[in-house]
């Protein structure tokens, strides 16, 4: 028998009982919608979290900290990191090596390390037109171009060069400055003021010798506004409201009084950083390099530690969600079995006739299996459609609610193409399994008995 003809007979059978086919299809589609919807919730959730981390570029970066310089929070983190690292295991704590430019060069020379740059944070007063606000400026290396958060720009683009007097804002900051049209800020000049210390030796000015704090001003042209604020992740390369090129940040950092240590620093000693970021060549080297750094006595932190637990949690969440979704699908697959058994009962005589005029058992089995898979295919498509619509509706509704509560809306349900395709394929597979018993029952029918059937 030609395959096309088998399809033809199957489709004809489905058309013969339109209502039953439609009802069974709806049953399957509800099952697929609930399974697909649940998984899309899991995927959406996962995407929200790992997406943020990815955007922050944290999978391939390790933060090396100097707890002494970072002060309270740094020491706390170091202690927590130390529980996993080499330091907290009953050994007497040894001070971490100083994070100065010399150390940075040493770290950069390690295997699989792409680059090393200091995490520079300078508290500044930002002034654009009439707007004035105190926030933290951070240094961004040119290598971050096109990476992480710098993949999507709401307006403008990345810095032109490392020593360029330009800066970037997050969309949140930009909106605080120009609520209606953040894009209009591009090209404007922002003034950054920060406190710097000068060692005064000249007594001719009639002031006592010693440390003095003065206000230093620098300006930058706003080059770009990034869409996604990765948020402050502890110890990570989390970005701040305003970002300046690394070269500019270094200049500022050299002068600025960032904290008490920098204020009291002996000018003759080399400048040490509170934290540096070590970028590895590929995310899979992160653990290796992290272990090596820990072995060298550094206090390190990478997102890997935090993510290990999260990955397991996502798998458990996905399994849990798909189990809930599967309940509906299990019920609807019983619907397929029921429909097919009914259909066979109704068509017993027809099956008998077909067998008497030469249909083989396989022909009959195929006809019914195709019927089941067509129901699965249609149910899959409709189900994915329902799942997508419901997900979008919740996303939109939820977005309105979150916005009314003053938050930034994020899609709860995420229905990628692979999930849609997998749902439809799964729907067909489930339908085939559900249809296999009725189909083989039809194939095994005794033609003589079937012909006597009314």
């Amino acid at each position: 028998m030609i395959t096309g003809d088998t399809f033809g007979l199957s489709l004809r059978n489905l058309r013969q009982s339109k209502l039953r086919t439609a009802l069974t299809t709806i049953g399957v589609s509800i099952g697929i919608a609930s399974l697909g919807g649940m998984l899309s919730l899991g995927v959406g959730f996962q995407d929200q979290i790992t997406g943020r981390l990815m955007q922050a570029g944290l999978f391939d970066s390790i933060t090396v900290m100097d707890p002494a310089i970072l002060g309270g929070p740094g020491a706390l983190l170091a202690e927590r990191g130390g529980l996993r690292g080499g330091r907290g295991r009953g050994a007497t704590p040894t001070p971490s090596p100083k994070l100065n430019d010399e150390t940075l060069k040493k770290l950069a020379a390690l295997d699989n390390v792409l680059e090393v740059y200091p995490n520079l944070r300078v508290p500044v007063e930002l002034k654009i037109d009439d707007f004035t606000r105190t926030l933290t400026a951070s240094g961004v290396p040119m290598s971050s171009k096109g990476q992480g958060s710098f993949q999507t720009f709401s307006y403008g683009a990345f810095f032109a060069g490392d020593s360029d007097a330009s800066c970037m804002l997050t969309l949140d900051t930009a909106k605080q400055i120009a609520e209606q049209n953040p894009g209009s800020l591009i090209g404007k000049t922002a003034t950054l003021s920060y406190a710097s210390s000068v060692t005064n030796t000249a007594e001719s000015l009639n002031v006592p010798a010693g440390l003095q704090v003065q206000r230093t001003e620098t300006s930058c042209r706003i080059a770009g506004i990034i869409e996604r604020d990765p948020g402050g992740i502890p110890g990570g390369g989390g970005l701040t409201g305003i970002m300046v090129p690394m070269g500019m940040a270094k200049t500022m950092d050299a002068q600025a009084i960032v904290n008490l240590q920098s204020f009291l620093r002996d000018p003759s000693q080399a400048k040490a950083y509170g934290a540096v970021t070590v970028k590895v060549k590929q995310a899979r080297f992160t653990q290796d390099v992290e272990d090596k750094l820990r072995g060298m006595g550094f206090t390190v932190f990478s997102i890997n530690d935090a993510l290990k637990g999260a990955k397991t949690a996502f798998i458990v969440l996905d399994i849990f969600l798909s189990l809930i979704g599967s309940i509906a699908l299990a019920v609807s697959s019983l619907g397929i079995v029921n429909t097919m058994v009914m259909s066979i009962l109704e068509r017993t005589r027809e099956i008998g006739i077909m067998k008497a005029i030469g249909a083989s058992d396989n022909d009959i089995r195929k006809i019914f299996l195709i019927e089941a898979s067509v129901i699965g295919l249609m149910g899959g498509f409709v189900g994915v459609g329902i799942g997508w619509i419901v997900g979008q509706a919740i996303n939109i509704g939820g977005g309105i609610y979150i916005r009314s509560q003053g938050g930034t809306p994020a899609p709860l349900f995420y229905f990628p193409l692979w999930l849609a395709a997998a749902s439809i394929a799964f729907s067909i597979v489930v339908s085939l399994i559900a249809g296999s018993y009725p189909a083989s029952r039809a194939a095994r029918l005794d033609p003589i008995q079937a012909l006597r059937h009314d």
Binding site: I2, Q16, M354, A356, I357, S360
Partner: protein, 229 residues
């Protein structure tokens, strides 16, 4: 004439509760190519059982049943279905047309299982229905046709795959006497003009004597007598 079909000590026993029903109990017959044979007997004589075995719808308990030398009892289900679609054409008392299909589709159906292309099978089905005098009724459903017309559709269907032998199980049982004669005339012409072997199962001795070359009378699953007309 060469033997088209041969049975040897053919038995078919059914288990009905504790009782063994001997529907066929050692039948040895042979049918020649181009022969018109009648199987005569009362109900329960085993004539329909014998026809079902020849049709390959059922399997014998013991004995052999050879069609052109091939033993049906040794065939796989797949081979049996091939036997049904290419060696034999079956005509039933109750027509057994698919009620939801048109006359044309009913005839093409058996060719569909034989893997004949759509164009070819529709052409052949059209010709067959035309030759049965149903040229204008191809698109009609069975319930829109008279009993005689339905049986002509069934005969067309039986002929579709050009079988060696037509098996007719009480083909006129549901028809009035005039239509019965017309149907028997059709069968007779197929036998005479196209040389189709026909095995007619009937309980009507007159019908058997009038149309068949040879009549085998069955009783309680055995051959009672054999006569040539």
């Amino acid at each position: 004439m060469a033997a088209l079909l041969e049975t040897e000590n053919l038995k078919k026993h059914y288990q009905m509760g504790d009782v063994v029903v001997r529907a066929l109990d050692g039948v040895s017959i042979s049918v020649s190519d181009g022969e018109f044979l009648a199987l005569l007997g009362a109900s329960g004589s085993g004539k329909s059982t014998l026809l079902n075995l020849i049709a390959g719808l059922d399997r014998p308990t013991s004995g052999s049943l050879r069609i052109e030398g091939n033993d049906l009892s040794a065939m796989s289900p797949e081979e049996l279905s091939r036997h049904r679609r290419s060696n034999v054409g079956i005509i039933f008392q109750s027509f057994n047309l698919v009620s939801t299909m048109s006359a044309l589709d009913n005839v093409t159906l058996s060719m569909m299982f034989a893997g004949v292309s759509k164009i070819e099978r529709e052409q052949r089905a059209g010709q067959l229905l035309e030759s049965m005098g149903l040229g204008g009724r191809q698109r009609h459903r069975p319930k829109e046709l008279s009993g005689g017309e339905q049986q002509r559709v069934a005969i067309s269907r039986a002929l579709a795959n050009k079988p060696r032998v037509l098996l007719a199980d009480e083909p006129t049982g549901n028809l009035d006497s005039r239509t019965s004669r017309e149907i028997m005339q059709v069968l007779k012409e197929l036998n005479e003009r196209e040389g189709k072997a026909i095995i007619l199962v009937t309980h009507d001795a007159n019908l058997a004597a009038q149309y068949a070359h040879r009549t085998i009378t069955l009783m309680d699953g055995t051959v009672l007598s054999e006569s040539t007309s």
